[in-house]
């Protein structure tokens, strides 16, 4: 497989400084090879160590078999040769929406991003296909030394910082898809919050896949220095096509002593997108990492946000919801490793399945032998809306220290006719009644989201309940 002539020309141009190609489009031919990986790196004019890492990761990806768990039959359907691994739709990352190509700007307008930015965000990055098309951060944060860039700019402007932490939490060899991401990554966010700085309002990243058979492989690295805090929010959507797209991200969080990172996701990919993501953070002494993870869309999601509690007194929370409708499988969960003493963790997982959808909770919590006095709390609730749908729980707990206090609760429930009748007697249609029950079920999650996102999620679920009553 070779990249398209057009792409090769631009790569050629790049060496000569392709500054004039502001409106150009680069689309690599479908399929993956070592040459494609080299071309991506070359196009980005990356340092040699990154190119080398990409190549090593690519080789590992090729050698590594598909996971033998999760939804193997769906995984088998992924045709890696049909996917486009790099596509650029605009010339540069702009910091003024007026300079973003009109069609793309309209898309983000419709998604409400510029509006949200005005009202309640500290910074925004908007990624379209493989590259960030828009990026901005509030001036006062820049003055305090906060770095918030797309990952490519991060590598260009802060190569030492990136080199130090890149792949330090999620090695490329972690799994097949972390290897793929490391080989072909493009875009994502790079964030560094200096010591003691609190970023009060959230920063947001929005990921949009627009093209058919697209592969989006953003890479995010967040470093919160001692005593700092940040809340990162991400959203994502894609158009619906009859052919599949692949989204495979890697997110690495480093919470240095006493810092606090909250990472919130509302994933709403269209039902033709495979969403195979590796998210992991390391919490140092007395640091906190929270994953607030909502999975509403996609065809198959396999995602288990993880926290390594490395420092004494550190804390982890994973609060997640998953909605599986027709043809969807949400295989989601959490992993937490208690490596140090007096560490605490909380997992709350809520899943709803409907119209033959399948929801799985897959969780792993470990406590190492030398970690004293750890506390773990795990709650998994599933709500099944009809007979066709399915919910499974795969919890694993490995506790090697007897001082650990573990609590685990799981429940599976169904919506009863009496519940619906009660709500309908208060003037709500059957669909509205179902939406009230479903949104209530998700409430412990939505209350953790910024208000604007919570409202959006509730509206989204109400939409999913429409036409659901036979």
């Amino acid at each position: 497989m070779v990249k398209s002539q057009e792409a090769r020309e631009v790569v050629g141009d790049y060496k000569a400084g392709w500054h004039d190609s502001e409106n150009s489009t680069i689309r690599f031919d479908s399929g993956l090879s070592e040459q494609v990986v080299r071309d991506i790196s070359e196009l980005k004019n990356e340092p040699e160590w990154m190119t080398d890492m990409r190549i090593k990761a690519y080789r590992h990806f090729v050698d590594r078999p598909m996971p033998t768990w999760g939804n193997m039959s769906m995984l088998k359907e992924i045709d890696f040769d049909k996917i486009c691994y790099y596509l650029r739709s605009s010339g540069a990352t702009e910091n003024n929406w007026d300079n973003v190509p009109e069609e793309i700007r309209n898309t983000f307008d419709r998604l409400g991003i510029p509006d949200a930015e005005q009202k309640w965000l500290s910074g925004v990055t908007a990624q379209y296909e493989s590259e960030a098309v828009y990026h901005s951060i509030r001036e006062d944060l820049v003055e305090q030394g906060v770095i918030f860039l797309d990952m490519d700019s991060g590598l260009r402007e802060y190569p030492d910082l990136v080199k130090k932490w890149f792949c330090s939490v999620v090695p490329f060899s972690d799994n097949k898809f972390s290897a793929l991401n490391t080989a072909v990554w493009s875009g994502g966010s790079f964030i560094y919050v200096p010591k003691g700085v609190h970023v009060e309002m959230p920063v947001q990243a929005y990921f949009r896949i627009n093209a058919k058979n697209m592969g989006q492989f953003e890479r995010t690295l967040i470093i919160a220095d001692e005593g700092s805090s940040i809340h990162y929010v991400e959203g994502c959507t894609a158009p619906t096509y009859s052919t599949d797209s692949l989204h495979s991200a890697v997110v690495e969080l480093i919470a240095l002593p006493g810092s606090h990172i909250r990472y919130s996701t509302v994933q709403n990919w269209s039902a033709n997108v495979y969403n195979l993501v590796t998210k992991r953070g390391i919490a140092h002494e007395k640091a906190t990492i929270e994953w607030v993870d909502g999975n509403i869309g996609s065809k198959l999601t396999m995602k288990y946000p993880s926290v390594i509690l490395k420092g004494e007194g550190s804390h982890a929370e994973v609060i997640s919801v998953a909605y599986s409708g027709k043809g969807q499988h949400q295989d989601a969960g959490a992993k937490i490793h208690h490596l140090a003493s007096n560490t605490t963790s909380k997992i709350l997982s809520k899943s709803i399945s409907k119209d033959g959808g399948r929801g799985s909770y897959r969780g792993m919590v470990t406590v190492s032998a030398k970690a004293e006095n750890c506390k773990l709390n795990i709650v998994c609730d599933a709500l099944i809306l009809d007979e066709k749908s399915r919910s499974d729980t795969y919890p694993t707990m490995e506790v090697a220290n007897s001082t650990a206090k573990c609590e685990h609760e799981a429940s599976v429930s169904k919506v009863s006719d009496d519940q619906l009748f009660y709500l309908m007697s208060r003037g709500h249609t059957e669909e509205q009644a179902l939406a009230l029950i479903v949104n209530g079920f998700f409430e412990p999650f939505t209350r953790e989201l910024p208000m604007e996102y919570a409202v959006e999620l509730n509206a989204l679920m109400a939409l999913e309940m429409e036409g659901s009553i036979g």
Binding site: R426, G427, E430, Q432, I437, G440, F441
Partner: protein
């Protein structure tokens, strides 16, 4: 303009669940401003009557008619009946975890009385005064609907909904059970102020005469085995209290033999 038709009219209602007949010919007419009571033992068909008026899907109507101001209720969905002004205070209110009381009340008022009724100082004013009348703290609004409520809290919450939704016809299914005497007085005050002197009506379903001492129904219907065997004024409740249902059953049997 109110129609000439009575508020609620039930004519020769026969109904059951699967193969079991429960109601065997019920006739009730409630006029505007009237409060009626249905008394009877467990299993006599009281709750079935309430559920059928509200439109519970489990029941099959064999024959008969139920109308509100002349409009055939049996043709309408439950939520349409609610919008027409039918309200049921449930014997066993359902819990909806995660749905906050305040949010639910606002949504229900908006759905039944319109968006404007659920907005602004007016809504908050009625909400506050109603909750005060029912001795409910404002923290109640952030709890989840019927989730972990005590029996008394559930019943008070049903009455709170009634006060906010301002129904034309309020059916109260054993709202008095699980309440202490002060609770019953509070609920009775709520019912009286919502119905007396208005164009609304109420149907109180109960085992006991306690609540009727405070509400003073215009008519009492006694239901035995799916049939109304006696209809009378408030004194019927006193008779039942003194002699029990056996007395009435024997009387009915004796009449049947004639």
């Amino acid at each position: 303009m109110e129609s000439e038709e009575p508020l609620l009219k039930i004519v020769n209602l026969h109904a059951g669940i699967e193969d079991t007949k429960i109601l065997k010919g019920i006739n009730i007419e409630i006029g505007a401003g009237e409060i009626h009571a249905i008394m009877g033992r467990n299993g006599s068909g009281k709750t079935t009557t309430a559920n059928i008026i509200m439109g519970h899907p489990d029941f099959d109507i064999e024959k008969g008619a139920v109308s509100l101001n002349g409009v055939d209720l049996l043709e309408l969905e439950t939520w349409e009946r609610a919008k027409m002004g039918v309200f049921l205070s449930f014997q066993y209110p359902q819990a909806v975890p995660g749905l906050q009381v305040g949010n639910f009340l606002k949504k229900s008022v908006a759905s039944i009385r319109g968006e404007d009724a659920a907005k602004g100082a007016n809504f908050r004013g009625i909400l506050k005064s109603s909750m005060k009348e029912l001795n409910m703290p404002s923290s109640f609004l952030s709890r989840y609907v019927n989730d972990g409520f005590s029996g008394g809290e559930k019943k008070r919450f049903e009455i709170l909904q009634m006060m906010l939704l301002q129904p034309k016809l309020a059916i109260l299914d054993e709202t008095d059970s699980g309440l202490d005497i002060d609770g019953i007085k509070t609920v009775a005050t709520g019912i009286n102020s919502a119905i007396r002197g208005t164009s609304s009506g109420a149907l109180i379903i109960t085992h006991y005469s306690r609540i009727l001492d405070h509400v003073k129904p215009d008519k009492i219907h006694v239901l035995i085995d799916g049939k109304i065997v006696a209809t009378g004024d408030a004194s019927l409740a006193t008779d039942l209290e003194e002699h029990g249902y056996d007395w009435l059953e024997e009387k009915v049997a004796a009449e049947g033999e004639k």
